[in-house]
């Protein structure tokens, strides 16, 4: 499925701290290329994702940022025609290695999608789904605790604590998205990928989610794809700008938004195109 080229040598010579301020990157992508059939979607991406920080991926539509995000937990594996080259590591381990089971990888690297997609089950079952398939709770009380904690962390507990048995699809759009975040948290991932998590929500629900992302940063490494540059500026510490399948520029968010080095970045953030 994936014609992955082993470049273990590359990882050895790479300076671990690199451009980052002394921290070891949680995830690291080197020369990632993705093809959908004959079409090349990503043209060699190098990106370090620091631990317990929010990394925002911005860029015009079709620039490959969602594709890149889906490489980080091998969601592209579910697409038959997708082909991936290059190296992506999680804690220094190649995630496309033959030894790695994508199912276990996705338990460590969770994902929240653009459109809220709660399962047509009760709120409780939505949260307990992940822990149950991974066998994280052996007794009923443990499961109750996981559900409660996850909902609390996602800031949804007070709104739904009296109706855990009601279907998750009955919640409002913003609540559904927070339910999906709680669902992702419930399996205690290390990294959470968010693919435009607020694009289907109104401004108030968006503000809720943004606050939540800021809180989650304490415990999780977060990568967020967004079209909204204010959002990237508000929630992220690092920002990467993608354009036409390439990563043009990456740096501290403040730097990218105040003094971009590349004129394409400048054009995009000042609204000249995109």
């Amino acid at each position: 499925m994936t014609a992955h080229t082993q470049t273990m040598a590359g990882i050895a010579v790479r300076p671990q701290a690199g451009t980052l301020t002394g921290t070891v990157p949680k995830m690291d992508a080197r020369g990632v290329k993705v093809y959908y059939g004959a079409k090349q979607a990503l043209k060699g991406i190098d990106l370090e994702i620091p631990e317990r920080q929010v990394t925002a991926l911005i860029g015009p539509s079709g620039c490959g940022k969602s594709t890149f995000l889906r490489c980080l937990n091998r969601m592209n594996d579910t697409i038959d025609i997708a082909r991936i080259e290059g190296l992506i590591t999680l804690d220094g381990q190649d995630i496309y290695d033959r030894e790695i089971d994508p199912v276990q990888l996705r338990a460590r690297v969770g994902m929240v999608f653009q459109k809220p997609n709660p399962f047509p089950k009760s709120i409780y079952d939505n949260i307990s789904y992940g822990p149950r398939i991974h066998g994280l709770a052996s007794r009923r009380e443990e499961m109750d605790e996981i559900v409660t904690k996850s909902l609390q962390r996602a800031g949804l507990w007070n709104e739904v604590k009296d109706r855990l048995k009601e279907p998750g699809t009955g919640l409002s759009g913003g609540q559904q998205q927070r339910l999906c975040i709680a669902r992702a948290i419930a399996v205690s991932p290390e990294v959470i990928l968010m693919d435009e998590p607020c694009s289907a929500l109104d401004p108030i629900a968006t503000a809720h989610i943004e606050e939540l992302i800021d809180e989650l940063r304490e415990n999780y490494t977060i990568v967020i794809v967004t079209h909204n540059m204010q959002q990237a500026a508000r929630v992220s510490q690092r920002t990467a700008f993608f354009h036409l399948g390439e990563m043009v520029e990456v740096g501290d968010t403040e730097e990218i938004f105040t003094t971009p080095r590349d004129e394409r970045t400048q054009g995009y953030i000042t609204g000249r195109y995109g």
Partner: protein, 460 residues
């Protein structure tokens, strides 16, 4: 003039009306089409409608009523020796007169009075045809001049034509609906006649089915027994066996096709599976009777069971095979309708494919699958040919799938095959059975469609 000539002439006139309407409209606008309310061809259609429709309606009414009027006139002209006979005999004589008039074979040597009546009949019809031709032509011409006179740039020809088209469409759908109503009513009335002979309680609760009634009073085996319970249990037994075969096989193949199969395999397998649905049920019937039933009997006997050569098992299994494409195709569509985002959500949490299918996809698709299964059940209950050929006529009250049983549909078919008298309880019982069958399948269909629709709304 024969009917086809009438209609051909009318068609030609309408076409002429169309051309005339068009050109008149164009010239009335002085060649500037923008002054016309509608496109010129609508004015043409407007005229053609006025030429064709009134004449056509007259033609329909005339052919409908002509027979009655002519018959009454002929009957009135018959000599007193015939009119004094009973109504039934007069009817027979009228049939003979028709046959004579059309030159067919008659049931008796023609008497002079009958030949005279037949001549009179032909004479009247001749006059009628001539009159019809004249009146239709006159009506068509009147329509032509009336419509042509009304053509004016401000005439809303398009709106009027579309209104008429609307009415025609409504009439067409009415025909379908009224036919259904008619079928239900005829079923209902015959069933009511049956229930005046056999009380409903005896029919619905009786345990013995033997619909042999005496035609003559001195016949042996006279008293019929009309307890339909053995037929209901037989029907349910066979339907249950069929579903036991069709639901697991159909559902599993649907899951394989929609979730696991590469698109190439799916593209080949699905049409092949759907070929099963195209095999006539008669063919399934003799497969059941000639291959499956002996096979079941031989296997059963080698295992030490007593199996009758027409077993419920054989019929049920073949019926199940027949229903597989029904279940698999509907379920496949329903499983495909489950949004990809739900699968992604599950994969994103680290669920495997089979966990995703079992815990997310199938529960989401379940209401729709239940609907599909209910539709398949009503199909199984209503199926006739397979059971006629493979299940037999013995109405045993049994739950043993190795015994011969009979079903409601089999009994209806055998009761109405061949010459029947339509006032005996034996024949009428078919309508009683038909009514029960209709009620059950209708209820199942309504429930199934509701369930499926409710499911559809959820993701739209």
């Amino acid at each position: 003039m024969p009917v086809t000539t009438f209609l051909l002439v009318l068609l030609l006139l309408s076409f002429a009306g169309f051309q005339l309407g068009r050109t008149t409209a164009v010239s009335s606008a002085g060649g500037r089409l923008s002054r016309l309310h509608s496109v010129p061809s609508y004015y043409g259609l407007y005229v053609a409608m006025w030429v064709g429709l009134p004449a056509l309606i007259l033609f329909a009414l005339w052919t409908g009523l002509e027979g009655i009027v002519v018959n009454n006139m002929v009957r009135a002209s018959l000599p007193a020796s015939i009119t004094s006979l009973s109504a039934q005999e007069i009817n027979l004589i009228m049939v003979d007169i028709h046959n004579l008039a059309y030159g067919n074979i008659t049931s008796r040597v023609p008497e002079p009075a009958l030949t005279a009546a037949a001549d009179y009949y032909n004479h009247l019809r001749g006059i009628g045809n001539g009159a019809l031709a004249v009146v239709m032509l006159a009506l068509a011409c009147a329509g032509l001049f009336f419509a042509k006179g009304r053509i004016h740039p401000k005439l809303r020809a398009r709106n009027q034509v579309e209104q008429v088209v609307n009415v025609i469409l409504i009439l067409c759908s009415l025909v379908a609906i009224l036919t259904t109503v008619g079928i239900v009513l005829s079923l209902l009335f015959e069933a009511i006649r049956f229930f005046t002979k056999v009380p409903p309680a005896e029919f619905l609760l009786g345990l013995h089915w033997s619909p042999q009634t005496a035609i003559r009073a001195d016949q042996v085996a006279s008293d019929g027994a009309f307890g339909a319970v053995p037929l209901f249990t037989g029907t349910l037994l066979i339907a249950a066996i069929a579903m036991a075969v069709a639901v697991p096989l159909g559902l599993m193949s649907a899951i394989y096709m929609s979730e696991y199969a590469p698109s190439k395999v799916r593209g080949t397998v699905k049409p092949i599976l759907e070929i099963l649905a195209g095999i006539p049920t008669v063919v399934y019937g003799f497969f059941a009777a000639l291959t499956m039933a002996p096979f079941v009997r031989d296997v059963g006997q080698s295992l030490g069971f007593g199996v009758s050569s027409e077993s419920a098992l054989a019929a049920g299994v073949v019926m199940g095979i027949m229903i597989i494409p029904f279940v698999s195709s509907l379920s496949d569509d329903i499983i495909n309708a489950v949004p990809q985002s739900l699968r992604d959500g599950s994969y994103g949490l680290g669920a495997t494919k089979s966990e995703t299918i079992r815990n997310v996809v199938l529960p989401a698709a379940l209401p729709g699958i239940v609907g599909a299964v209910l539709l398949a059940v009503s199909r199984a209950i209503g199926e006739t040919m397979i059971v006629v050929m493979a299940a037999g006529l013995a109405a045993n009250l049994t739950g043993n799938p190795l015994d011969a049983v009979s079903t409601v549909t089999v009994q209806i078919a055998t009761l109405l095959v061949g010459d029947q008298e339509f006032d005996s309880a034996k024949t009428l019982s078919a309508f009683g059975l038909g009514l029960v069958l209709f009620t059950v399948t209708l209820t199942l269909n309504i429930i199934a469609l509701r369930v499926v629709r409710k499911y559809r709304e959820k993701y739209d």
